[in-house]
Symmetry: C2
Subunit: 336 residues, 2 copies
């Protein structure tokens, strides 16, 4: 059965169509997008982010990917937004510059009854994708945490995606790890969120601040220029025993570990999937975080837990959104 | 359809039988046990806690409550224990003095095919009970936290009880709220668990320590003797503006609020149910905790959240265990 996954992010709009053959062999990890998707498409979101224009473009991709298949065709859209309900209403998307946009309703109306539409938070779709065909294949209790520019998470409990009362579950980036007077402010309006310490954009600013004027520092040499130093370079420096880099990682790893360990304590997950632009390039930070988790997580909750890196990369969100829609999770009525 | 709930705690062994009429009116809160259960039973656990003896006694209660009903009769047992799996294997129960006891398998064998047995963590059963007939009626996303001697929790997500990989989900008492050198040790072996600050047994020791020699203190006057001062007396003193009591509550409320707020941030619950021997008698602490939660929880996760007190008291575990078994959650094969 054909199904379509769409990933609407701040930079790219991507789509892929899957058929039964493409995921027929769940025991074989689909390492590349080409092994999973039968057809795929990618374009830049571009400057015109008017909801009506984006809806039209998503629908055009859907029509193209659906080709001459007969409906109803499941289509799942993962969107980089905080949702407000299970009908795809965007409460807020800094990436798209949207606030209070009834995206799901608009898209459902445009797509019509040929499609069965579900709209999901992008990280939830990615989490589901990793559970369908990636690092958490076959797992019923999963916590996935992605550290990129910000920090997002997804939870699967008893084989079901945890969406929460208003489709906002998994916001582990805004779990508080400091609450004293010095707690860092976060873009969410709160203070002391783990994202404000370990999230890529905060981390990069801190790295730039602390390395200012230190042209001979190992991380700067690795990057070439101070302004190009990324968390990955700091990780390499830490792996090489650099004191500053190790100090920074030793401060941040316990904070991330507290957020992760406390979540596992609550959820009793069997698999913790780590990914995202920062963690995928910082193996030393991951290792230190894992070590700190051993200390802060009760043993009965550590024993069943396996910690792994995400496998599917950019494909995960497409796989997951399509699979969620196909499973009938939070479908939006396309009837007028 | 007849169903049986059993609550096996450290002090009492209780049982109740429910029929369809007893929960037929979900809109009417069953304020008293007598309004819910058709038949009920209570006995002291007593000194002989040998698993075989307990199994026999539970089975005898089941036989009596089942009367002449024809099988298969759902029977749910909530047990004050950390479980290891969904077959009722007790990893550890300080209350019963058990370690590695295949309680579910033993009881299933004794009960035979006339019964359909499920064994659940007692707090999970209580949480489910509150969602079936108590403070979280009709809610699909629930976090329930009970502060008594210790702190236990239960999670419902998308209408399903979150059991976790090894049936240990909801251990919010062992979420870390301190991780510096001064973090309090907890009986679990960890340090800085919220239970080690707000859990009743820790709290009572601290109260006794800080009030030692202060016979004229308001809390002591309320209780009569220093050794009788309970958290409820401290709460009354705080409500009356006592400086020490307010200071203690102002230290503890944010710690509890961090654990609760971070859990809600992850789960996007629509209802937070608070209960247990401490919180049911400390309205001022509850109020301060709620206020602190407003600060530490992101607004989009606060908006859909309602915070309420548990309604069913001792009955919740019986209602919940029976309802879980009836719904077929984690039934244990009774075949030989």
């Amino acid at each position: 059965m054909l199904r379509i996954g769409i990933d609407l992010g701040g930079t790219n709009l991507r789509g892929a169509a899957f058929d039964d053959q493409s995921l027929a062999r769940p025991s074989e990890p689909p390492d590349k997008a080409s092994e999973v998707a039968r057809w795929s498409h990618k374009e830049a979101v571009g400057a015109d982010r008017d909801p009506a224009a984006i809806v039209e473009r998503v629908a055009a991709i859907a029509d193209r990917l659906a080709s001459d298949s007969s409906g109803p065709i499941p289509i799942g859209v993962g969107i980089a937004a905080m949702l407000r309900d299970r009908r795809g209403t965007v409460a807020n998307s800094p990436h798209l510059g949207w606030r209070d946009v009834p995206f799901g309703a608009l898209l459902a109306r445009r797509l019509g009854s040929r499609f069965q539409l579900g709209v999901y938070n992008d990280v939830n779709a990615i989490t589901w994708g990793e559970s369908v065909a990636g690092a958490a294949r076959g797992c019923r209790d999963v916590l996935a945490v992605f550290v990129g520019t910000g920090i997002g998470g997804g939870v699967i409990a008893g084989g079901q995606l945890v969406e929460g009362a208003t489709n906002c579950a998994g916001e582990i980036g805004h779990v508080k790890v400091r609450w004293d007077d010095q707690a860092e402010p976060c873009a969410c309006g709160g203070r002391g969120c783990v994202e404000a310490y370990v999230g890529g954009s905060y981390l990069e600013r801190r790295i730039a601040r602390e390395l200012a004027g230190r042209k001979k520092h190992l991380a700067v040499q690795l990057a070439g220029r101070i302004e190009d130093v990324m968390p990955g370079h700091v990780d390499q420096a830490a792996a090489n025993g650099d004191e500053w880099a190790l100090g920074l990682w030793s401060e941040l790893a316990p904070l991330l570990a507290i957020a992760l360990g406390n979540a596992v304590t609550l959820l009793n997950s069997e698999r913790l999937v780590l990914g995202g632009g920062v963690l995928s390039r910082t193996p030393t930070l991951c290792q230190l975080t894992e070590t700190a988790m051993m200390v802060v997580t009760p043993v009965p909750l550590l024993e069943p837990l396996e910690i792994v890196m995400a496998e599917l990369g950019d494909t995960a969100g497409l796989v997951g959104a399509a699979a969620l829609a196909r499973s009938g999770v939070s479908l939006i009525s396309t009837a007028e």
